[in-house]
């Protein structure tokens, strides 16, 4: 009985070693498969969509709760002396550039604070060319191009998602044929936009994104797109890509899958399933929209132009309807004016 009460002295060390061994094996396998993917990419092979067991497993996880828990954890206030070490560790792990950070490291009370850091003045000069459209964020270009007839954006070779699913079926897109544009001066167009009854003019016709101009004086318009992925160590504030009027905001609660490179290869419809905030409006050349898509570790999106918007809410608070929650910015038809480079919002942790 005395030996029974001591239990098996090898149980805990054995289980620990087995767990470490298993985690090591999983990590080695992950590194091996990532290496194969890197080799494939370097040899120019485009990888196709390969839904795997992990993607199926992710669908069963309470990702929203995990994300919110991560938000609480990363928001834990650190002792002042520990802060520089913690933020340097984060910067080293995720290749953040500490030279650009606006404040001394001990002034960021938590990892979450450090994550939404602003940058020193002058670190991001705004391209001054009046004909340029700038990147609203730091990141890596995932896809870029012109939308053709099908108006689909390729997520990965062999799988594409539709722009209207990403932005919302009620997206505005100028349908006005050339004669309308040609005859209407801007103020008249503004009036038309403001008049609800003519809202149909702005209904989406993503089936034919090219606007053909009958009068040769005005160039035909196309619909272009750019997808930018932000790594965990990147600067995560979102700025305005051009001078534009933000007419409307659309918030999709959605899921919170990871959006890293592996997820884009294994999870279908990633960008149209995930929680996201879409801003829609008009710039000098017509329609423009910007979608900020969240992820498990970066689930909440904050808008400086609408501070009371809350995303990544607990499931029970979420409106179960699929339809996104919309807000038209006042004054209608003019909305919120943003200048190129203005801060628009930020991706928060959790």
């Amino acid at each position: 009985s005395s030996s029974g009460s001591k239990g098996n002295p090898f149980l805990v060390p054995g289980a620990t070693v087995a767990t470490i061994f298993m985690l090591g094996a999983l990590h080695a396998r992950r590194m091996y498969s990532d290496k194969k993917i890197e080799e494939a990419r370097e040899s120019g092979i485009e990888l196709e969509l390969q839904p795997d067991v992990k993607a199926k497993f992710l669908r069963m996880l309470p990702l929203r709760s995990i994300s919110r828990f991560w938000g609480v954890l990363s928001g834990t206030e650190l002792p002042v002396w520990l802060r520089p070490y913690a933020h340097r560790a984060w910067a080293r792990a995720f290749h953040s550039n500490l030279e650009e950070v606006a404040l001394p490291l001990d002034q960021y009370a938590s990892v979450k604070d450090f994550f939404v850091r602003s940058l020193k003045e002058g670190c991001r000069p705004i391209d001054s060319d009046p004909y340029s459209l700038i990147s609203p964020v730091d990141g890596t270009i995932v896809r870029v191009g012109e939308l053709k007839e099908g108006v689909m954006i390729e997520q990965v070779k062999g799988f594409s998602y539709s722009v209207s699913s990403l932005l919302g079926a009620g997206s505005f897109l100028p349908l006005m044929a050339a004669k309308d544009i040609h005859e209407q001066d801007t103020s008249q167009q503004e009036n038309n936009i403001r008049d609800e009854s003519t809202k149909s003019w702005w209904r989406v016709s993503l089936a034919s994104p090219k606007l053909r101009e009958s009068s040769s004086s005005r160039p035909m318009k196309g619909l272009f797109y750019c997808v930018i992925y932000l790594r965990p160590g990147d600067y995560h504030r979102i700025h305005s890509p051009v001078d534009w009027n933000v007419l409307l905001r659309r918030h999709f609660t959605g899921r919170l899958y990871p959006v890293n490179e592996r997820a884009t290869r294994t999870i279908k419809n990633l960008y149209v399933e995930n929680e996201r905030v879409v801003l829609e409006g008009k710039w000098q050349e017509g329609y423009i929209a910007m979608a900020a898509v969240g992820a498990t570790n970066i689930g909440s999106i904050e808008l400086f132009i609408e501070p009371d918007l809350r995303t990544n809410q607990p499931r029970k608070k979420l409106v179960q309807s699929e339809a996104p929650e919309e807000r038209v910015y006042e004054p209608q038809g003019t909305g919120v004016l943003l200048k190129k480079g203005d801060e628009v919002g930020v991706f928060n942790m959790g």
Binding site: R124, P125, I126, D127, D129, Y131, S132, L133, I134, S135, P136, V137, D138, G139, I141, V142, R143, V144, G145, I153, V163, L167, L173, P174, K210, L211, P219, M220, K221, G222, L223, F224, Y225, C226, V227, I228, Y229, L230, Y235, H236, R237, H239, P241, V242, V259, Y271, W283, E285, G286, Y287, I288, A289, M290, A291, A292, V293, G294, A295, I298, G341
Partner: protein, 36 residues
């Protein structure tokens, strides 16, 4: 996280919007993605 931009711009060869970046490029906020 990911940001997707969708925008209208001239598409005639004489005045087409031209991207200055391509897939895989690193970009920083404020740098031109393309020009009219």
């Amino acid at each position: 996280s990911t940001v997707v931009l969708v925008f209208q711009a001239p598409a005639l060869s004489s005045s087409e919007f031209r991207f200055g970046v391509e897939k895989g490029d690193k970009i920083r906020m404020g740098e031109a993605l393309g020009r009219l």
